[in-house]
Symmetry: C4
Subunit: 247 residues, 4 copies
């Protein structure tokens, strides 16, 4: 078995100058955004990627039918076609991260991609009321465009750089002359965060001109807020009871 296996389901009309990556990561922020766009735009799956660097695992659908864990390429064929890179997992090893990102860039180059947006979460360790969107770029000169769309650049964040596919597609992409912009929604890092995803999608749509309904994302954000609120109240009640017990 080759270490990375790419299986194209379509061979025509698959080019695009734009790739949006939303693989799993902190708060699943990038994944939420990319999957929401795929769903709303009705993008079509054009390739499946399997790899020995993914966990050795199958997932089951509602009918008990197995599916090998994968990364996938979708394509939305509007006036300006867009590619999406999503999936179940990222690599389990550092070496695999590099080899997969490099393969993704080889595919992107072949399909004519000139710019990649990588989406992710930026974990801050506490709940956030109004999550900002942080930006990073792989080519000097892109900053203003990103800021105009509402993302911010700060000297301190993200301190540790950007790890995994979102980072490597920028870093390795620069060597190939592919523009890379990473957008990171602030998130606690503890929970799946549709609220941060909503902030992120707003910036992304402004930058790309994509126009989608974000109602379901907002609804999920509302549900998650209620869940967090209930957890908070349960916690408070438990603390009160403990105080009564001691008193």
């Amino acid at each position: 078995m080759e270490p990375i296996r790419v299986n194209f389901l379509h061979t025509t009309d698959i080019e695009s100058t734009l790739l949006i990556e939303g693989l799993p990561g902190v708060g699943q922020v990038g994944k939420l955004v990319a999957e929401h766009l795929i769903h709303e735009l009705g993008a079509e799956k054009i390739a499946e990627i399997h790899s020995i660097y993914f966990p050795p695992q199958v997932l089951l659908d509602g009918e008990g039918v197995s599916r090998l864990v994968s990364n996938e390429l979708y394509r939305y064929g509007g006036d300006s076609p867009i590619l999406f890179l999503v999936g179940d997992y990222q690599s389990t090893s550092g070496e695999g991260h590099y080899l997969l990102a490099d393969e993704y860039l080889t595919i992107a180059e072949k399909l004519g991609v000139k710019r990649i947006y990588t989406l992710g979460g930026y974990g801050v360790g506490h709940l956030i009321d109004e999550p900002r969107v942080l930006g990073a770029i792989n080519t000097p000169g892109l900053k203003e465009e990103v800021e105009r769309a509402g993302a911010v650049f700060t000297r301190e964040e993200p301190g540790g750089g950007i790890v995994g596919a979102s980072g490597l597609l920028l870093g390795l992409g620069a060597f190939r002359g592919i523009e890379g912009i990473c957008l990171m929604g602030e998130t606690s890092g503890y929970l799946v965060d549709p609220k941060s995803a909503h902030s992120l999608i707003t910036v992304l749509c402004r930058m790309t001109g994509i126009d989608v309904d974000t109602t379901t994302l907002q609804e999920r954000a509302g549900e998650m807020e209620q869940l967090v609120e209930r957890l908070r109240q349960m916690e408070e009640r438990r603390n009160d009871e403990e105080l009564n017990y001691i008193g």
Copy 2:
């Protein structure tokens, strides 16, 4: 040394359309079933597999004679011959899991295998009186056949998918057009579980038409239940003593 070394002990009469995998896993459920079948049917070893992805270890028999850890193929040559894949260990790394499963499928394809049953345990974290058998399939349309034999499909279980050989043989097998059915006996996950194995073998025999005596498996299940009961009583007594001590 090649990463995976397959050594066939027989070269004639080794074809079969059916492969049953029972490698070590949760509760050793799959291993118990496959080894019981090999023993009762008098299946014959036809191949040994060694690999750098197995633990670097030999096991000793009762005479102190060493044997490199291995996976093994057995064959029962009745009217409808059956292959069995069993062994001491699975791979120690994710990459090894993929490479071994792929090699097993290459062998299976060469030997004419059209369907694979992968057997395992599904750990639920508590003792179970009447373990169900959960099913998963790699080809739509197999579900009814599996349900008729007594296995159940639930939308929620197993939540994390299926990890290791039992999962990969389904997932990678689908690419080769080999039907795959995974049967998982519910088990606590804490102990070797012959009771779960008994539930599993019942379903498997119904599906495959294999007819074997399961008395020894039932006896081991009975012994294990008595052991669990004794452990429970010891635990209770210890709790009582502690209460007396405090009281």
Copy 3:
């Protein structure tokens, strides 16, 4: 850099039918024995092995001169020449264990080796007054010879088989028709154990006809016993003091 690099310092008079392996392991028992024999017999270093599977490290001699961690082959050229395999470390990965053991067997085969003794410790988790020597073999029929020399075979020990070079040289050696005998000195597993090494060397010398002075090994065993005794007394005193304090 090739993954395993073997550098022969001598190219003539290096054959031998006998190889004794004493790489680091539980209680350093095998290492103590092999290094004692090399020292007492005045065996000569004939090869150095370096590998990316060893820790990425140099050691320093008393003059501050560095030496890349290695495994080494020594040769004693008496009437029946003997090879010794010793070293600083074993592989840090399972795959490396297999690839190194296989390389060692390729070398052994080229040099004419017909029998390998692998030496190790068998950790029992408590101090032992009269450590037994456990035996294991890779070829049926060797058992009696090993027992006559004073080693014992028990059905239960070692339960987990034999891990690392001592095991793999037996397991992989069997495929090449090289006889393998593993001798394991019982040891606590907590400390370097020259006493266990002394038991082991006694059995090994009986089997091989090697005749060496074991005084220094006995002295080190005596020193270690005194050290253990002092540790015991310190522990007792501390317990007494705690009781006084409470009382």
Copy 4:
């Protein structure tokens, strides 16, 4: 993607007989020294090295522009040109350490390097007022020269040898006939240690004849001392308060 990718930015005037390595390590001592020298001498970057053995990560500059983690070669072209090897990270795996060090030596050999200084910290687990500089060599006969410059050789330190690039460049360099000298500044191991770096640079400059201003390094050492002092006082105050509370 090749496992190690070396990209030369200059192809002329890049030879040198001297290489100084200061990659990240204990107390960042070696890194501080090498980067201080690069800065003070105005050395020029001549090569960037990327590798799948580095963490899968990009770092961001103050403008949010990403840069794939790397190791880098700088060159100072004075009368006796000097090469510097610095970088963000060392390898994440043992195998990678070996393969990178070997590649660095291949480059060094091509560029005419005859001697390598590897710089590091030696962690002692407690704060040190006057950090010594320990020496190690890969060629007998270099010791006196190192001692004359103020480094010390002790039989006991560093007990575990030298791990990572600083060790392997000595160990593997010896096979290529490249002289290697490792200088290690004593350091607590808990903090970035410019004081230890100052001790180290003093010895290094004496040995190499490099003449640089070390004021900024001394200032940073002073700042770090004040920080440590403040931490100490905070700790004392906390202890006092706890005593008051108990008393």
